[in-house]
Structures are given as C-alpha cells and as structure tokens.
Amino acid sequence: MEEQILLMDNITVIYPNGFAANKNVRLACNRGSIHALLGENGAGKTTLMKVLFGSITPTEGQIYLKGKPIQFRDSLDAIQHGVGMVHQHFMLVDELTVAENLVLGMEPKKRGLFDFDAAVKITDEIAKKYNFEIDARAIVGDCSVAVKQKLEILKALLRGAEILILDEPTAVLTPQEISELFVELKKLRDMNHTIVFISHKLNEVKSLCDSFTILRNGQVVDVGRIDDFTEQELSNLMVGRQVSFEISKDAPKSEGRELLRVQNLHYTNYEGKQLLKDVSFSLTDGRILGVAGVEGNGQNELSEIITGLRRFSKGDITIDGSSIKNRTVRQIRRLGVGSISEDRMTYGCAPNMSVRDNIIADRYFTGKYSKGIRLDIKAIQKDTNALIKQFDVACPSPDSMAGMLSGGNIQKIIAAREFSSDSKIIIANQPTRGIDVGSSEFIHSQLIKMTREKGASVLLISADLNELIKLSDSIIVMYNGEITAYFEDASKVTDVELGEYMLGVKKMSTEEIGRALQQ
C-alpha cells in the first residue's frame, strides 16, 4: 500500500482584504510520487503552498504529516520537518558562490571561521548523490536561471526535504532546460522523495506527474491520476469551461509604414555593464513583433529605453520618423507609444488611487480633460465609465482603490489606459504574466485588435513561448543583450528552435539578423 505522506485537510485561507484564496481545500500526496497542483493564475495554488510551507497560517484547517497533525510556526519550522520549497523568485545571494549559497545558515566551520573548501565538498557530494551537475565555485550572479533553480532544489535537499514544493519551475526555462529538469525530478522521485509540482502547463504535467489536484477559485474541483485524463479534459476542469488553445488572427494588413526603428542601439548601465549591444530592428504598422529570450538578457532595458524611462548610450530610435533621443517620457507618449509593464504593481498602477484616476493618469492634462490647471471632472467621469465598461473591469465602483482588485482586473485597467490613447506602438512586456486565463485571452484579443483594426504595431516581450509564437508575426531572439536570431514568419518556428537561440547555443549570421531592420 502506498504511504500517504502529506494531507492538508479542509484548508481555508481568507486574506485581510476579504479575498478567500482557499476554501475547504483538501490535498493528499503519496510518498515517492510527483503530485501536480493545477489551476489558473489566481486559483489559490501559491496560497495553499504557502500554508504548507508555514509562511501563512490558515484561517481554518489542519495539516497532517505522515499521519500526525502538525502546525508550522514559520518556514524554518517547515524546513525542519522536511518540507522544502523552491519559489518562483529565487532566494539567492548573487554575489556569493554556489557552494556558499548552498550552506548559507548552516556553514561548515574550521576554528570558528567559515570553511570554504568544506562547503565545496558538501556541494559536490550532494550534487553527486542526486546526479545534478553544478559548479560549486561559480558565482551565482553569473549562473543561468536553470543553474540557480538546481541550486535552490539542492538547498532544500541538503536541509533534509522529503517533500519538495516547486512553484511553476518551468516558467523561466527554455524547452531544453525543462527536459533536463524533468529527468532530475524523476530521479528524485525514484529516490522516494515527494514532489508537489505547481503549474498550468498541461503538456509538462502530463509527461512528469503521477497524480493531480485541480483548484479553481480557491476550491478543489477534481483529484485523480494523470493517466486517466487527457490534456483537454484537464484544461476544461481548470478553467471551468471549454477553452481553445488557438488564437485566431488574420494576416497582418500592413501598409509598410515604419512605426518603430531601433538602429545600432547600445546601452551601458551606471555600473559600466553593457546590457544592449548593437540592437537593430524595425517594426511596420499592423504587425506584432515578438521578442524571445530568457529573462535578463536585455529585454526589460529595451522596453524601458523605448518608453523613455532609461537613456540609451549610442545609436538611435525613431517613432514614426521622429527620434526619441533626449525626449521625456511624456513627449514619447505623445508620439504615440503605449506600454504595458512587466511589473504592474510598480509601474502599472497607483494602488491607493481610484480606478478612474489610474485610467486617466496618462491624459489628465490634455485639453479634453482639463482647462488650464482645472480638471474637467464631468468629462473624466463620462469617458472613464465608458472605458471601464468597454474593457470589462470588474470593480465595485470607479472610485474603488485599484489595489483592491485582482491582478487580472488591474491588467485590464492598464489595458484600458494604454489601448485607448490612440497609440501607434504598444510595448507589451509580459502582458499576461500571472493573470487568469480569461483576462489573458482578453489582452490577447485586444493586442490583435490594435494591430489588425487600428493599424498599430506591437512589440511583444514574453517569456511564454506559446503566447509569443501564436501572437507574433515575426520574432527576434535576444541573448546577452544582442539579437541572435530573426524569424520573418513566426508561424514557422518551434519553441525548441527558439530555445536553442535563447540559450546562446546557436546564433544566426549577421546578414540573417540584419533582415530584422528593413532598409
């Protein structure tokens, strides 16, 4: 008989803002299995795992570990009981080596001082035991995302984790790295470790996991063995309705007018690190250009430079013919640039201001909404009410604080602002990260509408290769601040192919890349 190592019974979590993230959730895992925790963004997966890891105390419910009821005081307590977690955002010290990070908090000592050689030895031993390949002496800041993730897993294992929680571990990896990770995870399972695998990518879950629990709106909708269900069945359960994975879009109707031109762009940050090297591409009206790349390869800098938040060092950028050199953010916006930032709580909204204020934040000063310094409240109310309706923002009232809404609704507020300002170019940086399927579909359709109906261009930066391939007309790949590939026709690219360029394994010739910039 299989041993039930973990049971979370009747867990309810209500956040201080009244949001019930988990409602009477039950999760059971057997020893030596990989259990998938499925659900859309916002379904309550992360909350449930935070309860298991001791970082949230549930409002109601009980956790049983190996049949015994237990209550974790904090994460440290959870770790001591053999529960380890690898977060979406790594908890590592970039300046230290792999070995130092691994033993952090339990450092080997010789005569009262830190013993680096012993740390390296510990690292090599544990890596060998679990068959991970890792360089103990490498500085973490220089390592790839995949290596950092391995390090996080080893950290948990070194602290005696029997149950390992992986929160969307594949979101930041290339297809090649994913298959490598899966081999290692299966090995861990065979060594009798239990893994809780959080994901919403069903093909991965199918190939890796044994059993699953599906959450929707904070409640369990189904549990079962992975083999008994098809991908389509699982996804329908997840979303609660029939979903189509296809994004339908017409062929681009381009007049060939060049709206964005980036030429020989260089950017060096204040620490003297060169983050963009000789980047050149152009974008004509009515088209979506995708930017693929592992995070941190210059995509964020590129989007911040085009929107005016950073100044570039060399080269030039023109928007519909006018250079943006030495222009302020507002001047660039007036040229017709709209942007969706990857970090919506920092750059996308003012959380303690009303939905209405958030929508007009880029246009309150125009003649339409103000006379002199006086705001025309009536005009503002009329237009924002219409936009809230048009963009389907679910809020109690236009005066509600934006920060009280869900991630998907905040993204809709941002869309209502950025898509309604007659933009010629939209810089969409991770526009659907962390929001539910319904809101993602809405954002996708709006992006397509902007290009196909209004003739705008979209620069789509995304870590989600599926989204990228389906939405984009053409794709460029960025690696280490450079463009390493250009695909004229996005529909003829596979994610594996993109992965090779994203990892820097392959690079196209200068001539091929040069075609990204139309002469």
Binding site: I14, P16, N17, G18, F19, A20, K23, T59, T307, G308, L309, T328, V329, R330, Q331, I332, R333, S339, S341, T346, Y347, G348, C349, A350, P351, N352, M353, D357, A361, D362, Y364, F365, S370, I373, R374, L375, I377
Partner: protein, 359 residues
C-alpha cells in the same frame, strides 16, 4: 451581516474614534492618580471649554494656526515626503512679518492692504523654507526628515535673532518686539473674544487645499507621485517638479499661518521657542488620514483638548501637559496599523463566508 458590512466600510473612522475614546479614558484614569480632586479636574477638562463665551472662542482661535500647519503637512504627506519644515516655517514667517509690521515698514500703509501684503510675504517666507529641504532631497538625496528636524532649529534661532537684533523693544522688561502697527493687524470679529478675520483665510485655505489636490492637474500629479513614484515616472509625470511644488505650497501654507497668527492675536512678537504648531499639525493630518475635508474637525478636536487642558492647568492642581498623554495615545493607536485589525479581520471573514454561500 449588516454590522460586518458597516465595520468594513467605515473601518478607518471606527478605528480613529475608538482611539480618541481610549485616549480620553486613559487620560481620565491618569487624572484620578495625580489629582486630589479628580472629579473636578475631569469636569473642568471636559466642560471647561464650554463654560464661557471667551473660552469657547479660544478653541476656535487656537484651531486657526493648527489648520494652517496641518494643511501644510497634508501637502507634504500627499506627495510622500515627511517634510517637517512647517514648524520652523511657521515661526520664521511670524518673525519676518512682525519685523515688517513693527519696525521695517512705515505704519501708515492703509489697513486692508497692509495685512494682505504681510500675508503674501509670510507665504513667500514659508515657501522658501519648504524649498530648501525639497531641493536638497531632489538634488542630493538628502533625507528630508533629518534635514527638516535640524533646519527647524536653524529657523528658530533665525527668528530669535530677528527678534533680538532687528526689532527688540528695549523699553519693556521682557524679550519682545516693538508694537505692531495698528493698520497691519487683522480685525477682531467679536467683542469679548480674540476671534479675528484670519478665520476666513483659514477656511479659504481648507477649500483651496481640497480643490487643489482633488480638482487640478497639478494636484493630480502630486497625488500620483506620492502614491507610487515609479508609476508617476512611467506615465510621464515630472516627479521632481511635483515634489517641489507640493513642498513649496505646504511651506507657504505654514508661512501664511505664522503671519495670520501674529497679525491676528499679538501686539508684539514674543516667540522664543518652537511653537509646536507644526508637530501638532502633523498629528492632525495623520489623524485626518490626509483628507483635507476631515482636517477642520480634527483641528477643532485638538484645539478643544488643548484649551481644556489649559483651563485644568490654571484652575486645578493638574499641569496642563497631561493633555499630551491623550494626544500621544491617540497617535500611537492610529499609527499602529494593526490596532483593531482583528475586528476587521473577523468582519471580513464573516462577510466573505456569507458571500461564498450565496454564490
């Protein structure tokens, strides 16, 4: 269900009123320990301000300077800067205005024009005071709190310097300026009280603050900047200029307050120490949750407490400083964000459960 809804909706108000009540109750307990006749002290404290016309108007008179400093603080806090210069700006503006009215300017300037001119000067002095820490902060990232705490001392000593060397009346035994010109003073409104026309300026300042912050483009920029600076940059707001503007206006309001106070209530300039109005203004603005519409009520409450305490200090055996106990407790409870949080949490959980069942 209904109570839960009420609690969630009016939580901030409930919290503040509870804090005020608890502050009061604890102060009463305190009075019992220090006074030989506690019941009399309590009665004097609570009812004293209503015992005569003069006392009642004392409350309103005291609310006037508090309104200016708290509105000034409101601008500082709205833009997200803990700029405490209202304290020193208030005092320096009073000193400069008193010097102009007593010594520097000819006393023959016609009535209405004279005080109007002086109030404008007061505003400019306050504005300059607000500008210094703001510029240091924007240009060199100097911490506004540290700069203003230190600068307040500089302004205090600058004020006493003006008093000692520019306008001291050596014919009186105490340290005071020459008499202010009669034409420069604000009129008294009611016989038998010191209520002066400055009250209208104070009311205008409240309306201006509400209007400016909520109904103008510049006020919008200040609010966005104070709420989320990164977002302000991202939508193209000039963050530095809205920080500068807010702190200049905040300083100017404090300056007007100093001028109005001197011209409305004093014959001579007598301040040799910090007035404390700036720090009380900070407490008022925090307690009013930075809402200009709520500030007059809180300012009146603080004025009432202070006048009650003054009466207790002069007529009973309890020193008036005990009122600080109340103020401290109220601010402590309001600043402690988790105070009464469990009440809200229970209400929220109840509500969300009921809603869950309905669905």
């Amino acid at each position: 269900m209904k109570t839960s809804k009420f609690i969630v909706k009016y939580f901030d108000l409930i919290r503040i009123i509870s804090a005020v009540i608890i502050g009061f109750l604890l102060a009463l307990v305190f009075l019992f320990f220090v006074s030989d006749d506690p019941l009399n002290a309590i009665k004097t404290f609570i009812l004293g301000p209503f015992a005569s016309k003069r006392r009642f108007f004392n409350v309103i008179e005291l609310a006037i300077p508090l309104l200016f400093t708290s509105l000034g603080m409101c601008f500082m806090l709205k833009v997200g800067e803990f700029n405490l210069i209202v304290e020193g700006g208030f005092m320096l503006s009073g000193a400069v205005v008193a010097w102009l009215a007593s010594t520097a300017l000819p006393p023959g300037i016609p009535p209405v024009i004279f005080p109007a001119l002086l109030i404008v000067v007061g505003a400019l002095v306050g504005m300059a005071c607000g500008l210094i820490p703001a510029l240091l902060n924007i240009k060199w990232k100097a911490n506004v709190v540290v700069v203003t705490i230190m600068l307040n001392y500089v302004l205090t000593f600058a004020s006493t310097y003006i008093l000692r060397y520019w306008m001291r009346d050596t014919s009186v035994t105490y340290l005071g300026s020459h008499k202010l010109a009669q034409n420069a003073k604000l009129h008294t409104l009611l016989r038998g009280t010191d209520l002066h026309t400055g009250i209208f300026i104070a009311i205008a300042a409240v309306l201006f603050t509400w209007w400016f912050l909520n109904r103008t483009t510049k006020g919008f920029e200040i609010r966005v900047t104070g709420n989320n600076r990164s977002f302000a940059k991202y939508v193209g707001i000039n963050v530095a200029s809205s920080m500068l503007l807010a702190q200049m206006i905040g300083g100017a309001l404090a300056g007007v307050g100093g001028a109005v106070e001197i011209l409305g209530k004093y014959d001579r300039f007598l301040w040799v120490n910090q007035t404390g109005y700036g720090f009380t203004g900070l407490m008022i603005s925090v307690l009013a949750l930075n809402q200009p519409a709520a500030i007059p009520f809180v300012a009146l409450l603080f004025a009432y407490l202070q006048i009650g305490a003054n009466i207790v200090g002069t007529t009973t055996d309890v020193p008036s400083e005990f009122v600080m106990v109340i103020q401290a407790i109220i601010i402590l409870l309001v600043a402690a964000t988790l105070f009464m949080e469990s009440l809200r949490k229970r209400a929220v959980i109840k509500l969300s459960k009921v809603e869950g069942e309905v669905k």
